[in-house]
């Protein structure tokens, strides 16, 4: 950041999250503690344009000047789309002789075992742009053959003739012995100085050539797109008179400077959902174990936090490709607001997996969508107000929603005057069951059971569906944050600067002092790399922190477990303590330990963290007592009955004012449905915390709040 800004003391921080339909802004004014939010329509062809348009409006709304801004943190899904739509650079690849099938064969598997017409992903580098070098080393680093004279020059000439824009070198065993790969890359650069050349081991030095090459290839593939975007973004932000540094959100829940992002755009590829989880961690601090559900227009994403850290994974996907970088573990659980409701030939009502997306969108958007969607069901049963959608900026067409539902009601066996209401509610039940079972599966994959977790719901549709989902999944507590629809933008300004470092060196604990000395050295080297990097990431950051972990296994196991290594052990590894940490992790995940088995370390990791000075989340009014006053009432069809439901304005709710279901809490850009059997209030930082009420028999009280029938 600029020296002048630093000398002026605290100012404003801005978080920006670019989504498919809207770009969300959050401004935190550190001088007043106030948060200001704003939404601007996205411009898919140039997301920086919506940033340029939205920032002045945001500043005006917050009463802040451009020079007050001390930090901008920005998240975008530009890169995922570039990969899915294959819009990236023309990349050339250099591999060891005999291994040009690297991307065609991949890891050998196809998506399922039954589809007679299955296809596989189109590689990011076609095989004719994969060229061979004689350079070859063994697993121990010894050289088998060196590049032949003239070989690299010929490769460069070939790439140039093909119009290749970026080149990646992936030599076998380079993750442990990068010298030969570096040498080939250096020689290539000499022959084509104008074309960027990356090295697999330099981008991500992990064993397994296919996965490592994908990290490097995807990085090269999206680099030009990210580069030109960052140039436009920085220019547009500067043109507004804002001189604050810009950081980009990363898939590991952290942020990176613009310079680092230009070098390593791949680190930011899954950042959108990760930001929401970061915000959830802060907002839900003190609420124990949390399942986050981010339900938007096209999908619902789930993640887990057990405390102050999100849960990470090193096995995820970008489009069709596996990604081994450590990222916040976010998984899709199906239905979003746009999921289409349909009836199969046997008369069974189904939801999804097809989605109407944002365009044409649900029938009620009035953009020509004929299919009934979950959003149409919300509207039909009365959960959302057609005049208040997105704060009234988009009027929904209730008649269109009902017409779309009427078209399927008969086929699903619903007749009579209330057929539309009943089919809409049935579709919501189906969607809820679908999300709940996917939630259970998603947690089973992590070795967890949802019981005992609280559900934190955000995204445009999350608060509307949260009590329905929690009741079905038998979760006792629902937390809806203060501004659920702009939550990812909030996460952006709460995130710290983070980067992960990896080494794949096989160590056996039984080898004693030699292995431990090696481990200590590896940790020290990784931390040193991290330290060097982070000191150049900006002067806002505190003293760097290092978080070490190892991937470990019992000898002969085909899979690893990630084990966090405490600071003391990182600096002075001890075999007994490491073994015990692993046994415990194994017991926790798989239910047993195998004390007789030897233990191996397959991968060493260090995450470096530069803390951004924390901001306080603003408190809500505490001076309002007693039940809140309803702003209006609305008819909601729920469990076969028409209920008369009070509608509360969230902006006027004070802390601890009881909200008892059935109730609706409206706010600027989303609707929270407090189903019968749920009750709660705002906590000090504005989370709406709802709990399932039980009667004496332990079942949820569903009938106690029965309201007049229609």
């Amino acid at each position: 950041m600029s020296a002048s800004a630093a000398s002026r003391g605290p100012g404003c921080r801005i978080g920006i999250d670019v989504g498919g339909t809207f770009t969300d802004f959050v401004l935190a004014d550190l001088r007043t503690g106030a948060l200001t939010r704003y939404k601007e329509a996205s411009v898919p062809s140039d997301p920086s344009l919506s940033v340029k348009r939205g920032l002045p409006a945001l500043l005006a709304r917050a009463g802040a000047k451009p020079e007050d801004v001390e930090l901008i943190v920005h998240g975008t899904t530009l890169l995922v789309n570039a990969i899915i739509q294959r819009r990236g650079a023309k990349v050339g690849l250099v591999v060891c002789e005999g291994h040009r099938g690297l991307l065609e064969i991949g890891r050998g598997r196809l998506a399922n075992t039954y589809d007679l017409k299955i296809t596989k992903e189109e590689p990011l580098v076609p095989r004719n742009l994969i060229l061979e070098t004689k350079a070859r080393i063994r697993a121990d680093g010894s050289i088998v053959t060196r590049p032949e004279p003239g070989e690299i020059a010929a490769i460069a000439a070939r790439f140039r003739a093909e119009g290749v824009e970026s080149v990646t070198v992936v030599l076998l065993h380079a993750y442990a012995h990068p010298a030969m790969e570096r040498e080939v890359a250096a020689e290539l650069r000499r022959h084509m100085p104008d074309i960027p050349v990356s090295e697999s081991a330099q981008i991500w030095p992990e064993r397994r050539e296919f996965e490592r090459s994908l990290v490097a290839i995807m990085n090269a593939y999206v680099q030009p797109i990210m580069d030109s975007y960052l140039t436009r973004l920085t220019e547009r932000v500067a043109s507004l008179g804002i001189s604050a540094p810009i950081y980009i959100t990363a898939s590991n829940g952290g942020t990176l400077s613009v310079d680092t992002t230009r070098d390593r755009p791949i680190e930011t590829i899954l950042s959108g959902p990760a930001s929401g989880v970061v915000a959830a961690m802060r907002a839900a601090a003190g609420h124990g174990r949390i399942i986050t559900v981010d339900m938007g227009g096209t999908s619902a994403d789930v993640a887990v936090t057990l405390g102050t850290e999100p849960e990470y994974t090193t096995l995820t996907h970008v489009g069709d490709f596996p990604l081994v970088l450590p990222v916040v573990n976010v998984s899709a659980i199906g239905a979003g607001g746009g999921s289409i409701v349909w009836v199969d030939p046997q008369g069974v009502l189904k939801v999804g997996p097809r989605s109407a997306g944002a365009d044409p969108g649900p029938a009620c958007y009035g953009r020509g969508g004929q299919d009934a969607t979950i959003t149409d069901c919300y509207l039909a049963v009365g959960l959302i107000d057609p005049d208040q959608f997105l704060g009234g900026r988009m009027r929904l067409d209730r008649a269109a929603a009902e017409a779309a539902l009427a078209r399927i009601a008969g086929r699903a066996g619903f007749t009579g005057p209330d057929a539309v209401l009943r089919v809409a509610e049935a579709a919501l039940r189906v969607a809820t069951a679908l999300m709940s079972t996917e939630l259970y599966k998603s947690l089973a994959q992590r070795g967890m059971d949802p019981q005992g977790f609280s559900l934190m719901a955000f995204g445009g549709a999350g608060p509307t569906h949260s009590t329905l989902l929690a009741a079905e999944a038998r979760l006792e507590t629902v937390i809806i944050p203060a501004a659920p629809a702009t939550f990812c933008a909030m996460g952006a300004i709460l995130a710290d600067v983070k980067r992960d470092y990896v080494r794949s060196e096989h160590l056996e604990l039984a080898h004693g002092p030699a292995a431990l000395a090696r481990l200590k050295t590896i940790f020290a080297e990784l931390a040193q790399q991290g330290h060097c990097w982070i000191t150049r990431e900006g002067d806002l950051l505190g003293k760097p922190e290092f978080v070490a972990s190892c991937d470990m296994r019992y000898a002969g196991q085909a899979f690893d477990l990630s084990v966090a290594v405490p600071e003391a052990l990182r600096l002075a590894p001890d075999a007994t303590e490491l073994a015990e940490l692993f046994h415990k992790a194994h017991e926790r995940t798989y239910g047993f330990r195998d004390p007789d088995s030897a233990i191996e370390i397959t991968t060493e990791r260090v995450r470096v963290v530069g803390r951004i000075p924390p901001i306080a989340l603003p408190a809500v009014r505490r001076d309002l007592a007693g039940p809140p006053v309803a702003a209006a009432s609305r008819r909601v069809y729920h469990e076969g009955r028409m209920l008369d439901v009070p509608v509360f304005d969230r902006a006027t709710l004070g802390a601890a004012q009881p909200v008892v279901g059935p109730a609706i809490v409206e706010q600027d850009d989303c609707t929270s449905w407090v189903a019968p059997g749920w009750a709660g209030a705002l906590d000090e930082i504005g989370n709406l915390v709802l709990r399932a009420e039980h009667d004496g028999a332990g079942t949820t009280k569903r009938d106690a709040h029965e309201v007049a029938l229609a």
Binding site: G98, H99, R100, G101, E104, I105, R107, G108, R109, L110, T113, Y114, D115, L116, K117, I118, T119, K120, P126, R127, N128, R138, A139, V144, L172, H173, Y175, R207, R208, E209, F210, E211, D344, P345, Q346, V348, K350, A412, R429, V430, A433, L434, T437, E438, Y440, K441, A444, Q445, G447, R474, H506, Q557, A558, T589, Y590, G591, F592, D594, D596, S597
Partner: protein
């Protein structure tokens, strides 16, 4: 109580999700590489008749209609907390299909009575027997294949029977892993029990019991709707395994599929007799799950919303008479029964292709060969490692090329990173690439196979490669499409000491040798001369088709600069079009030569007459007859049928004479 369709849909979904959770928990806890890498395990929820009413979407679908009835009936007096275990293909009546598959079944109780069962199995690393990993094609009796566990209680009222566990542990080479895997399975059934209780808690026992049956009725109705896409008719087809490894005589799988208004009957009569090797499939004459794999894939391809359960098969009937390799009889060895099932399903593919050619692809490469290397270690022991699972390409279908160098059709295996393997073995993987010109040419091209070349760096290294096949009887082409290239195994390719092998069981190698496996591609579909020239140009550019093959097989002339020479292509294509245009099935030269002598009618007659003899006499007499036609067959000499049977008439005379002389005369 008939359920409303909304509740039925919701419960159908919850049942299947419960089995997905069982699967995830089993997979996490298992130690078997078959589970981790090959998904060779299954879980399900079973009704009171022993039929699967819920099955996970996430595993292999070849097990959906497992019958647990015989296993449950074999263990009376089941109490809450009991669990049955078995791997016995005969006493479980085909629930287990070979000994490494250990199955467990647990009754789930509600209010003191059984309301469902949980089931799962894992392919264990080793169940003892003659060879490590228990499976060898050259086993002839099940007793050689490992410890047989008849259906019995492994858990009694919640307590594991340590004595049975000790017997299992004592009889196998991987006792630790096996005990851990039994516990992993018990954990998975515990998950199923919990979810069933949750569902009953939310929906009530009446809705649960209604749904247990109605999800099967629902599946049956949906399945019927898909099966109706197969036109009525009678469709005969057959395919071959190259040989049974003990002799060089091919094994034929013959099916007759009869279709009437979405009712399917598959009759395997006429299939060759049981072999004295481990290829027999223990079906007990039932409609075994493996006999419907292709139909299952068909139904799921064309209705992805089909709930997976026993009801899917209500309209499929099997006629599977005794005496064939598809109906093993105690104590036939069964270890490698999947090879027979794969080829049988290719035969079923052919019958379905005759019926609905627009909906079925040509066959895949038809082989999965785990390439295993046993190197001597410093202590004189052997370090045994699976180097790579060799697979081929997939067959083309109408409008779609086959997938290149990956195949999900039988096991959908993960391969091994070269970096991981080379860190574990002394040998080097010199090539791991796609195999040019191996896919069957066609308007839609069969997917290409793979090349795996391994340079041996230690003397006395032993190479094992089970599952080799399709070296003769190759993946066929359809409607003018051509067959794939055959599987090949070459040592020291391109050197003076180059030598080519047929099927091997073991191969001893010395330092400096290079072993090259060339896997087949899939069959082609449609006349290759009709393939779009740009598609051929792309194939050549990417290295899937050579320039020579482009001209020869596709009539597309690719110029030096890699682009299509339009004029030369048009000329070449016109010339061929005017001559003969291929159609129907193309089975390749070896099958043509074979069937010129051993035609369908004669082979049906031979099998019919052999079938009347006591079982011990069948294979010896059969071998004598084939030896009389060509002695190389029994001796497994490497011959080309096209050469051996060049004089078709003479060979047919020898066959007729041998049948007359060797088979006992039939009563008039």
């Amino acid at each position: 109580m008939p359920l409303d369709p909304v509740t039925l849909g919701i419960l159908s979904h919850k049942f299947s999700a419960a089995t997905d959770e069982m699967t995830l928990n089993l997979k996490r806890a298992s130690r078997s590489v078959y589970v981790k890498e090959a998904a060779d395990f299954g879980t399900g929820l079973v009704d009171l008749e022993g039929h699967i009413f819920a099955f996970p979407a996430s595993t292999s679908v070849s097990a959906i209609e497992r019958e647990c009835g015989a296993t449950i009936a074999a263990v009376p007096d089941l109490a809450d907390g009991d669990v049955i275990i078995t791997n016995d293909p005969y006493r479980s009546r085909g629930l287990a299909t070979h000994l490494p598959d250990l199955h467990i079944v647990q009754p789930y109780f509600h209010d003191g009575r059984i309301i469902a069962y949980g089931w799962c199995f894992i392919h264990f690393m080793d169940m003892g027997g003659r060879v490590p990993a228990s499976i060898s094609p050259s086993n002839s009796e099940i007793f050689q294949e490992g410890l047989i566990v008849p259906p019995c209680k492994i858990v009694k009222r919640g307590r594991i029977d340590q004595e049975i566990l000790a017997i299992i542990a004592a009889n196998c080479r991987t006792p630790h892993q096996n005990v851990a895997d039994i516990k992993a399975m018990l954990g998975a059934l515990g998950t199923g029990r919990k979810r069933i209780a949750d569902i009953i808690g939310q929906h009530g026992i009446a809705e649960f019991e209604a749904a247990r049956q109605e999800v099967q009725d629902y599946a049956a109705a949906k399945a019927r709707a898909v099966l109706r896409r197969i036109p009525d008719g009678v469709y005969d087809f057959w395919d071959y395994m190259d040989d049974d490894l003990v002799t060089g005589i091919p094994v034929r799988f013959r099916v007759r599929m009869t279709v009437k208004d979405g009712e399917i009957e598959v009759d395997t009569s006429g299939t060759d007799p049981q072999v004295r090797a481990a290829f027999n499939l223990p079906t007990h004459g039932f409609r075994h799950p493996w006999l419907a794999v292709r139909l299952t894939q068909f139904m799921l391809t064309y209705d992805r919303s089909l709930p997976l359960n026993y009801g899917m098969y209500r309209h499929i009937k099997a006629v599977n008479p005794p005496g064939t390799v598809l109906n093993a009889e105690f104590p036939d060895a069964v270890g490698v029964r999947h090879s027979s099932a794969h080829r049988y399903n290719d035969a079923l593919s052919g019958a379905m292709m005759k019926a609905c050619p627009d909906l079925m692809p040509a066959p895949t490469s038809g082989v999965i060969v785990p390439i295993v290397l046993a190197e001597l270690d410093e202590r004189g022991g052997r370090n045994v490692t699976v180097v790579e699972p060799l697979v081929g390409g997939r067959g083309a279908c109408h409008g779609l090329d086959g997938t290149d160098a990956r195949d999900n059709s039988a096991a959908n295996l993960s391969n091994h990173p070269v970096e991981t393997i080379e860190a574990e073995i002394g040998a080097m993987i010199r090539r791991y690439d796609v195999r040019c010109d191996s896919g069957g040419p066609g308007e839609w091209r069969g997917g290409v196979g793979q090349i795996v070349a391994i340079e041996i760096l230690r003397d006395n290294s032993m190479l094992l490669a089970r599952g080799m096949d399709r070296m003769r009887f190759i993946a066929w082409g359809y409607d003018g499409g051509a067959p794939s290239a055959p599987l090949r195994l070459i040592v020291n390719q391109g050197r003076p000491d180059e030598r080519e092998y047929g099927k091997i069981d073991e191969l001893l190698l010395k330092a400096g040798d290079t072993v090259t496996f060339l896997s087949p591609g899939g069959g082609g579909y449609g006349d290759p001369y009709r393939r779009a020239p740009e598609a051929v140009e792309r194939d050549v550019r990417l290295g899937f088709v050579s320039r020579e093959a482009a001209a020869r097989d596709y009539g597309v002339v690719i110029a030096e600069d890699g682009t299509v020479d339009a004029a030369a292509t048009a000329a070449r294509r016109d010339r061929r079009m005017a001559a003969t245009q291929p159609d129907g099935f193309d089975f390749g030269p070896e099958r043509r030569a074979w069937e010129a002598v051993f035609d369908d009618a004669t082979m049906l007659e031979l099998n019919r007459r052999l079938g009347r003899l006591p079982k011990p006499q069948r294979q010896p007499l059969r071998r004598r007859i084939f030896d009389a036609v060509a002695p190389e067959l029994g001796a497994r000499a490497r011959i080309r049928f096209a050469d051996a049977f060049a004089d078709t008439d003479a060979a047919r005379r020898r066959l007729a004479d041998a049948m007359k002389a060797i088979l006992p005369p039939e009563a008039a």
